[in-house]
Symmetry: C2
Subunit: 334 residues, 2 copies
């Protein structure tokens, strides 16, 4: 099957770029040094490719992602890098023989873990991002509470999410260091083998963490593309030009991929050689005028919420247009 036969809009993955990104990361952070975050791609077939390059533990943001990876035979060592209260679903995965470690950052989430049959946790520590994570000085007490209730505490997590997207590499490095010094102190107080942190923007400069949770590196987006990282844009939304303006009106094109095909929180997606004007529900409007029927590859500004709109992604040889494999985006929803 050829790209020209796809119903559009459709997610297309550039095989050469994907393979390059996988190889670059496996060389930089081999084996367990990387715990790939599946929230970026939500696809067990792609996770299997990451496992094939040596990374057998995965990071998840939702229980559904844990369940899906486990069902796909990838549940050897999952870290749910998030607080959850619906812990019976995790308990069920453990009973089925999978390994899932859950984040806790409060007495309430520890109680929920115990009630749901969770066995292993990490203490989630706030390292500067105002989101989840306990105050650093509370980490040891929470670990003690968790252990007193029978949980195994594998260590700490602290996500420097306020740092990973900074365009200045110097600033990224300095702020990453500051965050990881906080996390290292908490780790010393908590104990355990894991100090889990990091993302695509800090994968190489975060030398403190025992493992890096990068996810976006494998498919990339235009925001991460501005950071000078050695990863190439590997995912696009293929769209078809359905309308082109009459010369009397101006010179623009409309293709059939819009707000339901792209996460928009990082701004507009991009088309090489074109200027994107705006998106509406099912349209992307850009200049110059193209021919009706032309196909364009649109690069998302933010990969994670883009993928989550799509049912499947097509692995393709972009040079020939041949579609090599089609993978369901099977970790969507909750």
């Amino acid at each position: 099957m050829h790209l020209s036969e796809l119903v559009t809009p459709a997610l297309v993955v550039d095989q050469a770029a994907l393979d390059g990104n996988l190889a670059t990361m496996a060389a930089a952070l081999p084996g367990a040094r990387l715990r790939p975050h599946v929230k970026a791609h939500k696809c067990t077939s792609l996770a299997a490719r990451q496992a094939a390059t040596g990374h057998h533990g995965f990071t998840c943001a939702t229980i559904r992602e844990c369940e899906g990876l486990a069902a796909a035979g990838l549940g050897e060592d999952l870290l749910l890098a998030n607080e959850v209260l619906d812990t019976r679903r995790i308990g069920a995965l453990l009973e089925a023989g999978h390994r899932v470690t859950v984040c806790v950052d409060s007495a309430a989430t520890i109680a929920a873990a115990v009630a749901g049959g969770v066995r292993e946790v990490v203490v989630d520590v706030n390292v500067g991002l105002p989101r989840c994570g306990c105050a650093p000085e509370d980490a040891a007490g929470l670990a003690e509470l968790a252990r007193s209730l029978g949980l195994s505490v594998r260590g700490v997590q602290g996500y420097e999410g306020h740092v990973v997207g900074l365009e200045s590499a110097v600033e990224r490095t300095e702020k990453c260091k500051a965050s990881m010094e906080i996390l290292a102190a908490a780790h010393a107080a908590v104990g355990g083998e894991l100090m889990s942190a990091g993302g695509t923007g800090t994968y190489v400069i975060n030398t403190w963490a025992s493992e890096i949770q990068a996810g976006s590196y494998v498919l990339m987006d235009t925001a991460y593309g501005r950071l000078g990282l050695p990863f190439r844009q590997a995912v696009y939304v293929l769209a078809t030009v359905i309308s082109t303006s009459a010369p009397a009106l101006g010179a623009w094109s409309v293709a059939d991929a819009g707000l339901k095909a792209f996460g928009m929180d990082h701004g507009l997606p991009e088309i090489a050689g074109s200027k994107v004007w705006y998106c509406s529900d099912e349209h992307i409007v850009f200049e110059p005028a193209r021919h009706v029927g032309d196909r364009v590859l649109v690069a998302p500004a933010h990969v994670d919420p883009t993928i989550a709109y799509h049912e499947r992604m097509h692995l393709a040889d972009l040079a020939s247009g041949e579609i090599l494999e089609t993978w369901p985006v099977d970790l969507r929803g909750w």
Copy 2:
């Protein structure tokens, strides 16, 4: 089943608000005066409610929406208010006995309609929004071309999408009039019974169109909520507070609904009585601090791309928390 038993995030529809919105619209634009646009809700169960209040023709933005409505027995008179090239799928619906009228705005889309077995079209006219639609002076020629190739031309469409969201009612009215004068002239030149236009923001002031394509009115969002329309917010994302900051850090809460639960092009969603700081993939961060386990209703800024992230919506009595029905969001994808 009760709202407290739902896995979050979950789409919840306020039955009282929904029924009110349906009744208000059916009174203002009875029967065929409204052709509800299903792109806003993507749900055949909700379309059936609209049909039950008298609106039997529907507007669609995608072929999948046409196929889904037809499969649900709602294919009596569908208008695909968009240009498409994959017209064999429309031809198949016609062969199965459904009625689908398609927009054309170029010789290329007319040729595609003929090739795919489409029988009825409307000429899509640009009335000021730089998107699809032919130049007004080209409408008659395109209608003539379509008829010469055996298509039945039912009239014109012209969407005043640059007008429907204007907060000033005076400006909305003046610009709607300007757009509809363009469309009326094209309609006079093209002929046919349909002059299809309008949206939730112009449903009552657009007195020129033969039918109004409003969709958002039924569920609403915070953007349309600012226009002073007689429709109430009827859809929310139910989220659970999973983390609350230590007093030493500040005073915020984190709930489990983020960039994969809300279309973000209109800005941040809102929580009554709270100040939303930001969203990340699976989190919404807001003040003040709440208790872990609290549930919050989050109102989307833009309904259409919000709904498209969710597998189902739950119709509920918000006063009692009882879930009355659960509807699949079955018109997603392409």
